[in-house]
Symmetry: C2
Subunit: 244 residues, 2 copies
């Protein structure tokens, strides 16, 4: 079964591939793993696309260097400071996790051979997002980055246990509608539970009814009366000098 | 000037003090400093009062032990994990900061001899909140805890620099209306700026117009379209087990 799928996908890739276009057909496999330093250029592209999607390019200041510093310069283990998970997809099933993969603090999540609802997926940026991850048994290099999450530890003075704050969750446009967002979300929730944490929190835009419904169905508390405030830039600098 | 104020305040305290009631008159002095382990019982009372004020006692699970663990069991320096600042008040001016105070990572903020708008302040819990802080030149013990903030480092994938998330800011009821909230807020903003951070963010209840106005006047961006979501308790446990 897996073998025949592999062959079918490979055939289609060979038939339809043009420069940066490749088609996945029938089935797709997904993996979520801890980001490594090699993922920084892809992560930067993902957060840039996410800022565009939210109309926030004007305030966007993230650089590859700042991402690298925020993600990998801390001495804390993953999930104790800013941490990224990377969602990868492949036309081929991912190999099972072995201890030699040496991913101590987060066990990768693998879902092989999702059946696609639609006939095929066309990824216009496939080569751009070819995974740089060096693991063993890497599907002959047919692994592509399709999304990410950014999380960091959070606290709430009313709760006994700390939690994970989900700052970003993003799936590239051509891979939406395949429950990959749900897969990413449950990776975060499982990790919080595994670490003995008590909560996961995040923000949702009030116009995003689909997401709100999804989150409520999942059991999340939607707290409509709280609003986000943010002090940054010149205002932060000038306010920080006021002491009266 | 300072001496005469001291005498006046002391006289009034002696005249009006009953069990747990003491009156501050004319002037009050304030200090913001890093919390120590000795502050945990006071901090627990403060977060409990804050939960009551927000009608959240039902979901409140914080204990003295959990506060102690979340605040003081990390190996990170202050502001790199959950950190509390304590607001203290005194009828007497606070002594100037000396290096022997050994408060390396946060320089206490002192505002001596605020003039009170109202004639006097009656604190019904004065003895309960007598400060346990052991510093030098401690105003003859006439130092009382009046409020707190809880902050932790935060990240936003769209911003180059990390920030401080202001989880809680609380001033006990009898000390409100004296700009002590603003003093606490600017302690946080200054610290973020001093650490080279790029933002401070926090939530405000949409019914709290006074606060929203205060924050906007200060230059904060109020972002009305984002809503907080929170997954916790049984829902977190059960969702974290879903992998399909």
């Amino acid at each position: 079964m897996e073998y025949s799928t592999h062959v079918a996908a490979t055939t289609l890739i060979n038939s339809f591939q043009t420069k940066e276009n490749t088609i996945f057909s029938h089935q797709i496999s997904a993996r979520i793993r801890l980001a490594t330093e090699l993922d920084v250029p892809h992560l930067h592209k993902l957060v840039t696309q996410m800022a565009e999607y939210h109309g926030l390019s004007e305030i966007f200041t993230t650089t590859e260097t700042s991402l690298y510093n925020n993600l990998f310069k801390s001495n804390d283990p993953p999930f104790h400071s800013l941490t990224a998970l990377v969602l990868e997809i492949s036309p081929n099933p991912f190999p099972p996790i072995t201890k030699s993969n040496n991913l101590i603090s987060f066990t990768p999540i693998i879902k092989n051979n999702y059946n696609l609802d639609q006939m095929y997926v066309l990824d216009p940026e496939l080569e751009t997002f070819r995974s740089k991850f060096k693991g063993d048994g890497e599907n002959n290099g047919n692994v592509y980055v399709a999304g990410h999450v950014l999380v960091f530890p959070s606290y709430n003075g009313f709760f006994e246990k700390p939690g994970l704050y989900l700052d970003q969750m993003f799936v590239r446009k051509c891979y939406r509608g395949m429950r990959l967002g749900k897969l990413l979300f449950s990776a975060v929730a499982s990790q919080a539970a595994k670490m003995g944490m008590g909560m996961v929190d995040w923000l949702v835009a009030d116009w995003n009814e689909e997401s709100i419904n999804f989150y409520e169905k999942m059991g999340a508390h939607y707290i409509p009366e709280y609003r986000l405030c943010k002090l940054y830039g010149d205002q932060l600098q000038s306010f920080s000098k006021k002491t009266d």
